[in-house]
Symmetry: C3
Subunit: 178 residues, 3 copies
C-alpha cells in the first residue's frame, strides 16, 4: 500500500468512528427534545420526533400510531397537565446502534405541580424502551414504550439488557399489541 | 484535484464534524457541573461556568448579573439549602450550536431533604433556557433563565423549540428584564 | 515537512480528539446502564459494569468489593425494592479523563412506588463520585461512592471539583474505608 493509500484508509476508519459518535449524540439530542416539546404544548414538534408511522405506547391506557395520534395526545388530555404545571423529565438512554437502526432503554419521570402544597409530586417513574431509525432527515423514533415502574414484572423487564434477537418490547405481548 | 488535495479536503470536513461533536460534549459537560458546584457550596466554581458578565435569572425572585452575583447567591441564601440537604438535578439540554453561540432548553429539579419524614420532597421543577458562548477558555454560560413549571404559560413557553430569530428568553419580557 | 507528512500529523491529531470524545460517550453510556440493570434485577449485567475487583460504597450501610458483592446486593435486599416498584435514576456525570483513568461526579435518585397513594416518593438523592479505568473490554467502574445529600457536610463535599492530587472519595475517610 502506498503512503497515500495508507493515509486514506486511516481517514476512512476515523470517519466511521465519527459517524458512530454522531449517531450517539443525535439520538440523545432527539430524546432531549421530547420533554420540552410536550411540556410547552408543541404538539407538531413532539410528533416530528417520530417517523410518520411511528408508534408510542403509554402502557396500558394509550396506544398511538403515527404522528397524528401524538398530536392528538398533546392537544388533548395532556393540556390539563401543562395548564396545572408539570415536567416530563427523561434520562439519557443507553443506546445500541446497529446500522440504520438503534434500540435503547431509559427512564421518564412525570412530575406535577401541587399549588396548594407549593411543591411537586412524582406521578410516574416509567421504564422506557426505544427503537430509532435513521431517515433522510436524521434519526427518528420508530417505537417508544413507556410503562410505570409500579412493581409489574413485565415493566421492569423492559429495562433488562436486550439479548441478541430478543424482542425490543416484551411488554407488548402482555397487552396484546399487534 | 490531486489525490492529496482530495484527501486533505476529506480531513478538513472530518475536522468540522469533530468540532461539532466537541461543542455538544463540552456544553453538556459545562451544564453537568452546575449542580455539583452549588450543592457542594463551591461558589467560585459555580460562577466560573458563566462568562464574566454572564446573566442568571431565577424567575421571579433572583436576577444575577456577573460572576460576583452568582458567588453571592451560593454563599448567601443557598447555604441554608445545602446545610439542610438538597440536590439541584439538571437534565441534559437540547443544544443548538450556531457558530460561536449556542442556545438550549432543559429542566432543573430542586429536591430537598426532609429529615423528619426520612425522604426528599420536590420543591421545584423548572424550565431552563440557556445561551452559551465560545470563549478562549472554552464554552461558558452567557445567560440562563430558570422558571418554575407551575402552570404559568410564559414559563412552559420557554421550552418550545425556538423559531429562527425568536428571542431566547421570552419570559424576560414578562418580568421586564432589561 | 512534506505535504503528506503534514496531512498525516493532522489525521493523528484528529484521531486523538475522536478518542477523547469516545471516552466521554463510553463512560456516559456505562453509567446509563446502571439504573436499567438493577431495576430489572439483572445482577450479572450490573456487576459487569465494574472491574473484577471494583468497589461500590453505598454509604454508610453497604460496602461492596468485587463483582460478587454487587451480584449479591442485586439478588438480595434490592429484590424487595423492585418488587414494590422503584427507579434508580442517575444523572450524566461530569467526567474528567486522565489517560486510562477517569473521575466523575453526579447524582443518583432512588424513587419508590407507593401503591396506596398512586404516586412515587423520593427516598434518596445522593452525591456520587466515580473512578473509571480503561480495560481491554472498554471503560469499567473501579470505584463508586453513593452518599445521601441529607445535610452531612462530607457527603456534599464529594460533589466539589476535585483539586489536582486530591483524593477522589474524601467521604471514605469518614467511614474509615481502607
Amino acid at each position: 500500500m502506498s503512503e497515500i493509500e495508507e493515509l486514506r484508509a486511516m481517514v476512512e476508519a476515523l470517519a466511521g468512528r465519527v459517524r458512530a459518535l454522531e449517531d450517539q449524540v443525535e439520538i440523545t439530542q432527539l430524546v432531549a427534545q421530547y420533554g420540552p416539546a410536550v411540556d410547552s404544548g408543541s404538539a407538531e414538534a413532539a410528533a416530528a420526533l417520530w417517523t410518520e408511522d411511528g408508534r408510542f405506547d403509554a402502557v396500558p391506557q394509550l396506544r398511538m400510531r403515527g404522528r397524528a395520534d401524538i398530536v392528538a395526545m398533546v392537544n388533548g388530555g395532556h393540556q390539563s397537565l401543562i395548564r396545572n404545571g408539570c415536567g416530563h423529565v427523561l434520562t439519557v438512554p443507553h443506546v445500541v446502534v446497529d446500522g440504520d437502526e438503534a434500540t435503547g432503554r431509559s427512564y421518564a419521570l412525570n412530575i406535577r405541580w401541587d399549588a396548594e402544597d407549593d411543591r411537586f409530586w412524582v406521578a410516574r417513574v416509567s421504564a422506557n424502551t426505544w427503537r430509532w431509525v435513521r431517515t433522510a432527515a436524521g434519526w427518528r423514533v420508530a417505537e417508544r414504550v413507556n410503562a410505570n415502574l409500579d412493581g409489574t414484572p413485565e415493566h421492569r423487564a423492559m429495562l433488562a439488557p436486550r439479548e441478541s434477537g430478543a424482542p425490543v418490547h416484551p411488554v407488548e405481548e402482555r397487552y396484546g399489541h399487534e
